[in-house]
């Protein structure tokens, strides 16, 4: 089977432009979103630098205007900037055009409601229903919306960052940043100019077609270009963002790439002592170090199925002050101060603040945590036999604690594994983690069992 080139789901619309994702999809999805929103409310849009973003922008504008919404186009900006502008302008919602950590030929639409918050599963389901029914509220000619552009959205966003971070204190750090040819550079250059941060940017140029590397926030990508530069440049840390800068990854001052799994435990360690929230919401695939860190500060980890939608739904079932942090093992983290928006720039600034407060180097802070070893594999999917596989695994590993909210997770003290079907690619993912040495034998056994499915 060919790799999937179009994915229409609760997360929105995502696909390979031309091969899967077409102009027609974009227009109809925008009409559906315009129909879902309260009538006549303004909608904020922005895009990442992918070349196809211009085509998607035109379709999104047409669909929203046709359903009676005024459109505010922010141009090329990061997703958190769009979410910030939705709230600032009191808009009815927003659309982010960009495929985040996917390669250049992909593109996607992500939808936000009032206040810049993510659509709930119920709202996303309604959006899909409207899209599939194709019953759009197309307004009469004299009620069609108008388009305007806004050029200073990033400045307003940076203004809000300044309310939460003591930039005076962060100026002492020299930081190397790999922008992955994405939108983070636009924000970082303003931080540099306005607050005198010492930043060295690589892959800064906004690029539509050929990214310098896969824009993923994984340890492997950090190791590729960013990590080797940190020590020679005498920097205190290296950070890497995905294209729409909602995710972050890092390297130490020694030039050591850090696992993407560490972003969430580091931030939990930083924000839990500050209170008032004690809950950390994450999915069942992220590191168990998180429980250990939370325990130190009297916090609690809530684990939900993989995928942003589950985390977003979980978040809404608590009062905001109960929750300290929401995140994934991918370097995507939401903090309470930023009204729970996935924001890589805010995460970077929080980590630098942590270094400043502790007066310690990044490598020293990391050395405080016990070692956890994680192994990951992805194998071809044979959908029909997945239930059988999960039953078999549950039977054979029945001595552990079983979680079946998303595939199968089995926990033993200091060790766990998770087998699940990816929502974005036609693969089965196998993840094992153990406190200390890698759980090689368990991992090999699981991989072999999944492979035998074929």
């Amino acid at each position: 089977m060919a790799a999937r080139s179009l994915r229409i789901s609760h997360v929105g619309l995502r696909g390979v432009v031309g091969a899967g994702l077409t102009a027609n999809h974009v227009i109809e999805f925008a009409c559906a979103f315009g129909t879902l929103l309260a009538p006549r409310q303004a909608v904020v849009i922005g895009r990442d630098p992918r070349a196809s973003g211009v085509m998607l922008r035109e379709g999104v504008i047409a669909g929203l205007l046709a359903t009676g919404h005024d459109v505010v186009d922010l141009g090329v900006v990061s997703t958190p900037v769009i979410q910030h502008a939705i709230r600032r302008l009191g808009a009815g919602g927003g659309v982010s055009i960009g495929a985040s950590h996917n390669s250049a030929e992909w593109n996607a639409l992500k939808f936000f409601g009032p206040g810049g918050i993510y659509l709930s599963t119920a709202e996303a389901g309604e959006l899909l229903d409207i899209y599939h029914l194709r019953k759009f509220d197309l307004v009469a000619h004299d009620r069609i919306g108008r388009l305007r552009t806004e050029a200073d959205a990033i400045d307003h966003y940076v203004g809000e960052l300044a309310e939460h971070f003591d930039f005076e204190r962060l100026r002492r750090f020299r930081v190397v940043v790999d922008c992955s040819n994405g939108t983070s550079s636009l924000i970082l250059r303003r931080l540099e100019a306005r607050f005198g941060l010492d930043l060295i940017l690589i892959n800064e140029r906004l690029e539509g077609v050929r990214f310098a590397h896969e824009p993923s926030t994984s340890r492997e990508i950090v190791a590729l270009q960013l990590a080797p530069l940190v020590k020679p440049l005498a920097a205190d840390a290296g950070f890497l963002f995905d294209v729409d800068s909602d995710r972050v990854a890092l390297a130490t001052e020694e030039g050591e790439p850090v696992s993407e799994e560490m972003v969430l435990p580091l931030l939990a360690d930083h924000v839990l002592p500050k209170g008032p929230g004690k809950l950390v919401i994450t999915n069942i695939s992220s590191t168990a170090l998180l429980e250990e860190v939370a325990d130190r500060h009297g916090g609690k980890v809530i684990r939900v199925p993989v995928g942003r939608q589950a985390a977003i739904d979980a978040l809404t079932s608590y009062r905001p002050e109960q929750v300290a942090l929401v995140g994934e093992g991918t370097g995507a983290v939401m903090m309470r101060e930023f009204r729970f928006v996935y924001d890589g720039i805010a995460a970077m600034l929080a980590l630098l603040t942590m270094m400043a407060e502790r007066g310690r180097k990044l490598s020293e802070i990391l050395a405080d945590y016990p070692r956890y070893s994680m192994l990951k594999a992805q194998l071809p999917l044979v959908s029909a036999r997945v239930p059988e596989l999960l039953m078999e695994l549950q039977r054979d590993y029945g001595d552990g604690a079983i979680t079946r909210v998303d595939g199968l997770r089995v926990d033993w003290p200091g060790r766990w594994f998770h087998v699940r079907v990816s929502q974005t690619e036609p693969v089965i993912r196998v993840i094992c983690e153990q406190r200390g040495e890698p759980p090689l034998q368990l991992f090999e056994d699981l991989v072999e069992r999944v492979r035998r499915l074929d």
Binding site: V16, V17, G18, A19, T22, A23, N24, V26, I27, E28, A30, C31, R50, A51, S52, V54, M55, L56, E58, G59, I61, A62, G63, L65, A66, A104, E105, W106, N107, F136, L138, V139, A140, H141, D142, I144, G145, R146, L147, G208, V209, R210
Partner: protein, 453 residues
């Protein structure tokens, strides 16, 4: 109104009531079909001032980009200005988002080839097939082009081309007092600049705010131009001009406040052109015989074509004609500027003629060959059209006929033209004669006959 008239996709392109009928999805698909048809390259797009224009332009642009075209956005502009720019810019083609003189709830796409001409009927049917078959080119990320804005050059280019053909200094010296009604359409700002700055007129302008809706019925006709006529009288203007929303058509009010017959406007402009340069004339079958009389004075030939701008333009290009148009719809075509209907060219030639002769527009009109005209419609049931035409021909045996578009019976000093509408089950009846009595007799006889069949 019957539902099918709210949306029409056919050989004339795509036209409909915006909202439930003409949707962004349709416009996008049509844009992608057009982009697929002209191939990856530059395409020019602009629009008139209708409220739905911005939305539709973005939808069409989305489709064009998806097909791999680069898009030049020229914004709100008259259709002739867009056509001239398409040709001059070396683009693969162009589109104007405009429903011309139709009511504001309508919109449509006008389609141009690389020469800035309406794509011909053969090209149109190929494009429609592409659209229906959904055989679109789908560009990948590295094939998708940009959108570039070009808001100044097209206007400048259009002015330069028109002004090269008239005596600008002579017109400016006269400091004509001119009234203008641009129906808040695409020419609102441009026509003010043209008349005031370029031609040195003292301008009294109404309805020149492109951000406001159409203040009157968009088609410039005697019954819709009362405000302009009143303005001409109250301000003592020497002439009044009225455009339609995309400024291809022009209507004219004389200094007494009388709205001129469209055939007379065409005759005046043709006379002005032939005064300045040699060449044949092309008009449609329904246009006044005054044109033949004028052309004869200059020793020029008149070619007649079926009704429709594309037909007239095709014949003009084939014969290398100097000027042409269609009397009934106020369109003047002067290929030395561009082979399209253009209200700016018409305004410039009329002012040039007034400056050259020193005579008021009413006197120039009064000297035109005098004919009387009457237009009407007769409804018919499907299947009866052929019988109507046969009965008509049998009633007038041994008469010269032209069957290239319906039936035209040509007498000495009079004619009758009967043709079926493209959009509705009715026949359009036009008659002209050299006296009012003869016209009434002829019109009454033919209309009565058609109704009896």
């Amino acid at each position: 109104m019957r539902g099918e008239h709210l949306l029409k996709i056919g050989v004339s392109g795509i036209r409909g009531v915006v909202g439930e009928f003409l949707t962004p999805g349709l416009a996008c698909a049509f844009g992608q079909a057009f982009g697929t048809y002209v191939g990856p390259g530059r395409v020019v797009i602009g629009r008139d001032t209708r409220a739905s224009g911005e939305m539709l332009q973005h939808a069409v642009t989305c489709g064009l980009l998806a097909s791999g075209c680069e898009v030049i956005d020229v914004g709100v502009l008259p259709t002739p200005t867009i056509q001239i720019y398409v040709q001059a810019s070396g683009a693969r083609g162009g589109l104007a988002v405009t429903a011309s003189h139709n009511p504001p709830e309508y919109n449509a796409l006008k389609l141009f080839n690389r020469r800035g001409l309406f794509i011909n009927s053969y090209e149109r049917s190929e494009l429609i097939d592409l659209y229906h078959q959904r055989e679109f080119r789908h560009a990948t990320n590295d094939e998708i082009g940009q959108v570039r804005a070009e808001y100044r050059t097209p206007k400048r280019l259009h002015f330069e081309r028109v002004l090269a053909h008239v005596d600008v200094a002579r017109i400016r010296r006269r400091r004509f007092r001119v009234a203008l009604d641009a129906v808040n359409g695409a020419a609102s700002l441009m026509a003010c600049g043209f008349l005031r700055e370029e031609l040195g007129c003292e301008l009294e302008a109404i309805h020149v705010d492109p951000s406001r809706p159409f203040p009157r019925i968009a088609e410039p006709r005697p019954d819709t131009l009362g405000e302009l006529a009143a303005l001409v009288r109250s301000c003592g203007c020497e002439v009044g001009f009225a455009q339609d929303p995309d400024a291809d058509r022009l209507a004219v009010v004389d200094e007494t406040g009388r709205v001129l017959d469209n055939d007379d406007v065409l005759a005046l402009v043709i006379e002005a052109v032939l005064e300045r340069r040699p060449g044949d004339v092309v008009v449609n079958l329904t246009t006044s015989s005054a044109i033949d009389v004028i052309a004869r004075r200059y020793g020029r030939r008149v070619w007649r074509t079926p009704v429709g701008e594309a037909n007239v333009v095709e014949q003009m290009l084939a014969t290398g004609a100097a000027v042409g148009g269609e009397g009934s719809n106020g369109g003047v075509i002067f290929p030395a500027v561009h082979a399209c209907r253009d209200s700016f060219t018409a305004m410039a030639f009329l002012l040039d003629r007034m400056a050259a002769t020193g005579e008021p527009i009413s006197r120039l009109t009064g000297r035109l060959p005098r004919f009387w005209r009457r237009f009407g419609t007769v409804t018919f049931e499907h299947g009866r059209l052929g019988a109507m035409m046969q009965a008509l021909e049998e009633t007038f045996p041994d008469t010269e006929t032209d069957r290239s578009d319906g039936l035209k019976l040509i007498f000495d000093g009079a004619w009758v033209h009967v043709r079926a509408s493209n959009t509705e089950p009715l026949v359009r009846l036009a008659a002209e004669a050299d006296s009012p009595e003869r016209l009434e007799t002829l019109y009454g006889k033919v209309a009565g006959l058609l109704e009896r069949v």
